[in-house]
């Protein structure tokens, strides 16, 4: 079992900050303290409390959590297990699939943040790691931004896409979850769900969330193109075979 580490193993120390919608006063400090106590923390210290506007106060609090987590037995699906090079991935596809894998990527819904999906697809890649366009064994379609889920599914059908990459960067009010869900549902409705490797990504994505959403894999912040390529390459043979 592990706990947050302040300066001593298992001291449970955590830093919090938040705003309360009240003018600042000594009582506001005390409200902040009691609130953090209510959250279940011990040893609550309101390090800072001050007015940030006439009717709002901001607090910095340090406190100890009694909670711990069993790190050893944590099951985290990871899609980034095997590190492979571009050459290895191309070789794997050549050998096990025997043809180019067709990949389509898009930033769906009204989301116009293409930098992330471009980083995965474009030649140039990301942080020195080449994008899928650079691979011999991928045929890549980058549909760009603000692509309606309907258009993407139509395209998938038309081009017999093997792997579909959907990106969502705007997450406010759960818009990402809404769009991702719409995509899976439409694929299912069209009977295409099982014929594609379905990946989602974006800065807030985690493997767990992707699984919950019904995707084969999810890629979060800092993803390298080769990680995505490796995932597709290792999954393809199952589909084809």
């Amino acid at each position: 079992m592990i706990k947050p580490y302040g300066d001593t193993l298992n001291d449970g120390k955590v830093q919090l900050s938040f705003t309360l919608p009240v003018p600042w006063s000594e009582a506001a400090d005390e409200a902040a303290r009691q609130l953090v106590v209510k959250m279940g923390f011990a040893d609550v210290q309101v390090a800072e409390g001050r007015a940030i506007a006439e009717s709002f106060s901001f607090f910095v609090v340090y406190a100890a959590t009694p909670q711990a987590i069993d790190f050893e037995s944590l099951a985290v699906p990871s899609v980034k297990t095997h590190k492979m090079t571009m050459e290895e991935i191309d070789a794997l596809i050549e050998e096990r699939v025997g043809r180019k894998v067709r990949v389509a990527g898009a930033c769906i819904g009204t989301d116009a943040h293409t930098v992330g999906i471009d980083a995965i697809l474009n030649m140039k890649g990301y942080q020195g790691d080449y994008g899928l366009e650079r691979y011999k064994m991928f045929e890549t379609y980058n549909l760009g931004s603000q692509v309606a889920v309907e258009d993407l599914v139509r395209f998938t059908k038309e081009k017999k896409i093997d792997a579909l990459l959907a990106s969502q960067v705007v997450t406010q009010k759960g818009s990402d979850v809404k769009n991702f869900t719409a995509l899976v549902e439409l694929l299912e409705a069209e009977g295409l769900r099982d014929s594609v490797i379905l990946c989602c990504g974006g800065p807030r994505m985690t493997s767990l969330l992707a699984t919950e959403l019904g995707y084969d894999a999810g890629f979060g912040r800092g993803t390298l193109p080769s990680e995505v390529a490796a995932f597709i390459a290792t999954r393809m043979p199952h589909r084809v075979g």
Binding site: T19, I52, A53, F56, Q146
Partner: protein
């Protein structure tokens, strides 16, 4: 700070910019758009929505016959005014409700129609000037703090939460409040109506929303003893309409840049160049400072490499704005602090670029955008990058200072985030207030060399763009690594060539 820069190179850049603007300007003068026509109606006073929430100005323009549109909306609407004797707003409602159709007033002589419109337009123009005078008075009574003017965004999606946030930000030191628009509004070929409480990543720009925040900020301005400015976004498919609304609701600034729309929203370039021109004429008259969007180039492409393109775009934007009648003091050219924080001496590069812009555009209220691209979930690190941005801004005398926010990579700002951001800017700008005045870049040093490189690369780039044409250069991906074709993108269907009799009553008033 004072850089040695090659004044002749600057002059040559301006010459190239003029050469670039010429054909664009010629194109603009031969065309109008549905949005320009709708903005004429809005200025005249037409407002409200019809069935399906379609705005009345849209309904009216759409009701025009395809063959009539090239003459503009003014005359047909003028005929209806004469015939019905209604005020423009009431006439709009009548038309929207189906109680009348423009086509039915064909009999009214052109001259009478023109006369009615001229009268209404003059009244509208006076309203715009009155709001401008109001601003001038308020700014006299309630002087702003000295620049860099701290600019803060609110973006909750709900105009009433935005209002709360705007007032809180003003109390915490903000001097300009921007209400960010909802994702995708720039792609709407109409302006939503009324107060709105649902939006993604921002709140819809509507005239009612403008008024709600303006009123709250006027109240706060009086309480705080300093005028707090309000700004919103024009760029998109409705540039001139938003410019009209902003004039009427006394906004003080507008993001107004067709290059942004083209590159980052895939809006058709012909459409938006035409829209931009008329919207800027309106902005000029209403005393609204425009903000251009060069900063965006740095969010998709490498900031070190794109610096010459940013400068080139500033020259072009300056030229286009001047041609719309804007004085330099209303042309807020954009730039941003987007160099990779891991780059050794990146700060020196930023200083070079910011100072270069300051000296080349001495009268422009430069708009300086904060780091966004390299902001991560590490809010502590992000706060520091913002601090170096704040330092650069105060050192180089930037004017409109968008405060960077430590949670940039996470969510649209919380109320507390904004306070921390303002505190950051205020602290840095206080502790280093005159630092820029007190140091000189070493002649031939890294800063000066970088500035010289950017300027000379910009010069070459402008020459190339002048030779190839702006539209073709955009097509070739010169700006921000993004390629757009002259006939591609959204809104092209709304562009039309002016017939010989085309008339826009405001063009005369505004020139």
């Amino acid at each position: 700070m004072e850089l040695q820069i090659d004044r002749n190179a600057v002059a040559r850049c301006r010459k190239s910019a003029a050469a670039i603007a010429d054909p664009v300007q010629a194109f603009i003068e031969r065309h109008s758009t549905v949005s320009v026509e709708r903005s004429i109606l809005r200025l005249l006073g037409v407002d409200g929505v019809g069935p399906g929430d379609t705005p009345v100005p849209n309904m009216i323009v759409e009701s025009l016959d395809a063959s009539e549109l090239p003459n503009g909306i003014a005359i047909p609407f003028g005929r209806a005014l004469v015939q019905t004797g209604l005020e423009p707003r009431a006439l709009g409602e009548r038309l929207a409700s189906g109680g009348a159709r423009l086509a039915q007033f064909g009999d009214v002589p052109n001259e009478a129609a023109r006369g009615a419109i001229v009268a209404a337009a003059r009244a509208a123009f006076d309203r715009v000037l009155a709001r401008r005078a109001e601003r001038n008075d308020l700014m006299q009574q309630l002087p702003q703090l000295p620049p860099p003017l701290l600019y803060m965004i609110v973006a909750s999606g709900n105009i009433y939460e935005d209002r709360t946030a705007a007032v809180a930000a003003a109390e915490a030191g903000a001097q300009i409040i921007a209400v960010i628009r909802s994702t995708g509004q720039s792609l709407l070929d109409f302006v939503p109506y009324g107060p709105t409480t649902e939006g993604f990543g921002g709140t819809y720009a509507t005239q009612a929303n403008f008024a709600i925040v303006r009123e709250a900020l006027d109240e706060a301005s009086r309480r705080l003893g300093r005028y707090v400015m309000l700004t919103n976004y024009a760029s998109g498919l409705c540039m001139p309409e938003i410019a009209a609304m902003a004039a009427l609701e006394r906004l003080d600034m507008l993001l107004n840049d067709s290059m942004y729309g083209i590159l980052f929203r895939d809006i058709n370039m012909k459409r938006t160049f035409v829209d931009q021109h008329f919207s800027r004429m309106l902005n000029a008259a209403s005393g609204i400072i425009i903000n251009t969007g060069e900063d965006n180039y740095l969010t998709t492409a490498d900031a070190v490499e794109q610096a010459p393109a940013v400068l080139a775009s500033q020259f072009i934007n300056e030229e286009l704005a001047r041609r719309a009648g804007m004085p330099d003091r209303q042309i807020g050219l954009g730039d941003a602090y987007e160099i990779d924080p891991n780059l050794e001496d990146g700060f020196l590069f930023e200083v070079a670029q910011a100072q270069l812009a300051r000296q080349i555009f001495p009268d422009s209220p430069l708009k300086y955008m904060p780091p966004t691209k390299h902001m991560t979930g590490d809010i502590f690190k992000g706060h520091l990058i913002d601090a170096m941005f704040n330092l650069t801004s105060v050192m180089t005398g930037q004017t409109i200072h968008l405060c960077g926010i430590l949670t940039e990579a996470i969510h649209t700002p919380f109320l507390g985030d904004r306070a921390l951001s303002l505190e950051n800017a205020r602290y840095i700008m206080r502790t280093a207030r005159h630092f820029g005045d007190d140091v000189v870049p070493k002649p031939g040093g890294r800063i000066e060399r970088r500035a010289a490189d950017v300027l000379s690369e910009c010069e070459i780039l402008l020459e190339r763009v002048a030779a190839r044409g702006l539209m073709q250069s955009i097509e070739a991906g010169v700006f921000a690594d993004v390629k757009r074709s002259p006939e591609g993108g959204r809104g092209f269907e709304g562009v039309f060539e002016r017939a010989p009799d085309y008339w826009n009553p405001f063009e005369e008033l505004l020139s």
